[in-house]
């Protein structure tokens, strides 16, 4: 228990500080957990490894958790992994259940965070051994599995799939990056576009453009007269108030979503957003009332938030037991280790037991701080929606623009991307484009391509996708079940609608 001597008041203060700053970063559209960690990384030079990690882990947990605030209150995902939180969180806010949605989300986040930390602590090395069983083929199938969410998210199946494919298409614009093993050639653009688009569209400006700017444009179209004229006041607690009984019957959902989050987190290269997307789909497939999802069902918020916080422990598994980051934020965390001259790899845990134990304490403490800070600050946070929209929205646009400009260290084209996709989302929805499937296609498209092409390059045959391993076969079964459930759900809903009509 020598590690206990490292746990100074400074250690806990740094975790707490990190969590609060992380929440702020996560809550501002356009700023992410990755950014929070990257911005604060140089601060850790002045600290020793333990205290440096305390700060960074606090930032990580806070940053991932903060994203639910704008997702629920404003329908703008604060981070890419909180996209699915908007699906039910925002409708809840519209019903006057903003506070309930936030508290539900925060509690689910706490569960997911603690769950994954425990899994990390108990099983990291053996899970890392399992993770390396996933080659290009299995990773492609995981992405494909996540893509099946498009079917269950679409209002109109055909338009939804079209939007998803369009999203994939947009994600492929740019070069086939050599850093993924590509040939560096440019695709889907003219020579004139090369200076701007050689690396393609950045995810974050696209995301906040579609969700943030697009939504604001829609609201602007309605005009502010309606709101002022009717003297309508947004209700903060009009609907069902929050109580922990909302989790009754949701234990399976919580565990499944946290497990999926942890599992996706530990697969390097699959990406964090896939975690919440996958668990949301599964909740929709297994829900007793799938028709309620997307219309303000707390179970949707639970699935999404448990998964994206489950990611935190999951993404640390390959980092600490293979020396390989599980997601973009843990990739930045590596910096803290290398700058302190600590070697990461399969022997890290055994060689650095004290560091490992203190990291676990930091992770658990960060989750608790996140819970208490957010849970009790909610009464204040939720008042954001009472700010008149003509004051609120310009502020949000400003933050979106600053976030888009800053995400790649000052690229003006990212601001144009934000505006373009804002307009695209606004106009697209008028002609039936479905934003959620589009963005999911966009997020997963690039990885899907790389893993698909690399699988073919490695194995040379399409049949390998079916025959590579038992894991691949299980994944195909899951994909099939997911698609069948979605179609079945849609047919059932259509029948219900017809009955009501």
């Amino acid at each position: 228990m020598e590690f206990l001597s490292y746990l100074s008041p400074m250690f806990f203060a740094l975790v707490g500080f990190g969590v609060i700053v992380g929440i702020i970063f996560g809550a501002i559209p356009g700023m992410t957990a990755t950014m929070a960690v990257a911005v604060c990384l140089p601060m850790t030079y002045a600290l020793d490894l333990i205290n440096g990690l305390a700060l960074l882990l606090g930032l990580y947990v806070g940053g991932i958790s903060g994203g639910l605030v704008p997702a629920i209150l404003l329908k703008i995902p604060g981070t890419p992994s909180s996209i699915t939180t908007t699906f039910d969180g925002y409708p809840m806010t519209q019903k006057g259940e903003g506070e309930r949605a936030l508290k539900t989300g925060i509690t689910a986040s706490l569960f997911g965070g603690i769950f994954s930390a425990v899994i990390l602590f108990l099983f990291a090395p053996s899970l890392a051994d399992f993770a390396i069983k996933f080659s290009y083929v299995e990773k492609f199938l995981i992405i494909l599995f996540a893509l099946t969410v498009i079917a269950s998210l679409s209002r109109n199946l055909l338009l939804g799939i079209f939007s998803g494919v369009l999203g994939v298409w947009f994600s492929l614009i740019g070069s086939y990056d050599i850093s993924y093993g590509g040939n560096g050639e440019y695709r889907l653009m003219t020579d004139a576009m090369v200076p701007y688009l050689e690396s393609g569209f950045s995810l974050l400006p696209v995301l906040i453009g579609l969700f943030g700017l697009g939504t604001i444009m829609q609201e602007a179209e309605k005009g502010i007269r309606e709101e002022v004229g009717k003297g309508k006041k947004l209700d903060l607690n009009g609907g069902t108030p929050f109580s922990f009984s909302v989790f009754k019957g949701e234990m399976i959902n919580l565990i499944r979503s946290s497990s999926l989050g942890t599992f996706v987190g530990m697969l390097p290269g699959v990406g964090g957003s896939a975690a919440s997307v996958l668990s949301y789909t599964q909740q929709k497939n297994f829900s007793k009332h799938p028709e309620k999802l997307g219309k303000g069902a707390p179970e949707g918020v639970i699935a999404s938030e448990a998964a994206n916080n489950g990611l935190t422990g999951g993404a640390l598994i390959p980092l600490l037991s293979l020396g390989i980051p599980g997601d973009s934020t843990t990739a930045v965390l590596i910096g803290a280790f290398t700058l302190q001259g600590i070697q990461l790899g399969p022997l890290f845990i055994g060689n650095n037991l004290d560091t490992w134990n203190t990291m676990m304490v930091a992770l658990l403490f960060a989750n608790l701080v996140m819970f208490f800070v957010m849970f009790f600050a909610i009464r204040t946070i939720v008042k954001v929606i009472t700010i008149p929209k003509y004051l609120l929205y310009p502020g949000i646009i400003m933050m979106c623009v600053v976030g888009a400009y800053a995400i790649n260290f000052g690229i003006m084209f990212d601001v144009w991307t934000l505006l373009f996709f804002g307009l695209f989302g606004y106009l697209g929805q008028k002609v039936g484009l479905e934003v959620a499937p589009f963005i999911i296609g966009f997020i997963l498209g690039k990885q899907a391509e790389v893993y698909f092409v690399k699988s073919l390059e490695s194995f040379g045959s399409l049949t390998i996708f079916f025959t590579k391993s038992p894991i691949a076969m299980v994944l195909w079964v899951l994909i099939l079940i997911s698609v069948v459930f979605s179609i079945y759900g849609m047919i059932k809903q259509k029948k219900n609608n017809n009955k009501h009509a």
Binding site: Y136, G323, F409, S458
Partner: protein, 347 residues
Amino acid sequence: MKFLKSGLAVAMAAFMGLAASQASAADVELAKNLRIVIGSKSTGGDTYQNSAIVAQALADKLGINVKVDAVGSSAAFKTLRRISNGSTIMIFHDQSYLGYLYGVKGYFNIFEDFTVGPTVAINPGNSYLVPKSSPYQSIEDIIQACASDKKIRVAIQPGGVSEIGFSALKNAIKLRYPGKEANLVAVNTGSQSDKNQLLFDGQADLINGSVQANEQYTQLPAEDQKAMRFVWLTARPETIKQTKPEGFGDTSQEHLLDFVSPKASVTQDGEKDFTFDKEFFFIYNKKMDPAIVDALDEALGEIYAEGKIQETQKKSFFIPNFKPSAEAAAYLKDKMGQYEVIIDSIK
């Protein structure tokens, strides 16, 4: 009145700030805020780590703010091309010209389009590994396997530092066993994680890696699917000899020397062995005031003369390697010329 007072205070402060910045500008002709863009997007990689060490030393020496931004090569070159006043400079490594030699889009001849500045450090870790259970015990075994028509698949990231060792190996096979070089096949992939994965999956016989990222894998027992073995380090022997005697992790310097020329020999031209040290250096806008180049050379010269930065670099397994701009440019140009011959010979 209060407003007037505070207004005056602000004006005064602004004036004083301006005067101070002018005074320091006259001294060192450097911007008060120096931005270093790097050719990598990772803040966990060696480029960032090395740049952060140098940036900190420069900031302390010159009393200026120095910020390192991991923007990636394409954005870094673009930014550098735009800003000539010396407020933004770049740090990168051999990839900057190897990308050009391999014809990767977004790379230029840095010696023509930019000004090459001082070198600051070497990362001696570029290496090649096989699974621990592999029948190939050395890089010579790999060459012999190709000579006897066995296909050897090598996982690399194409277009740069990761590929140059592969090209050299192919060139060596071609020189010794003409026509057999086709048996050495590249498996193009991305990150270190992907390269490792190909080895775990049995989809590659040899992978490019680094001492820093892969050393722990070499300590695993042979029955572990993840266990690996070094067969070749591309660094010059004199570079490895400058590492600490304890080497890296559990691999001593003496043991590391087993994988370096002349013990691990890959011929470059039939006479001397091929070596490759990954060196970090500054790159400037072509139109940047030469006085700034000199000022940075001078500042770095003093930093290295003090000797403290060397300790920090060695702690992170970098080999200090300061060469002033003119010397560095000539040296790197020659290095590029040598690699150009190799790349051309196997086209």
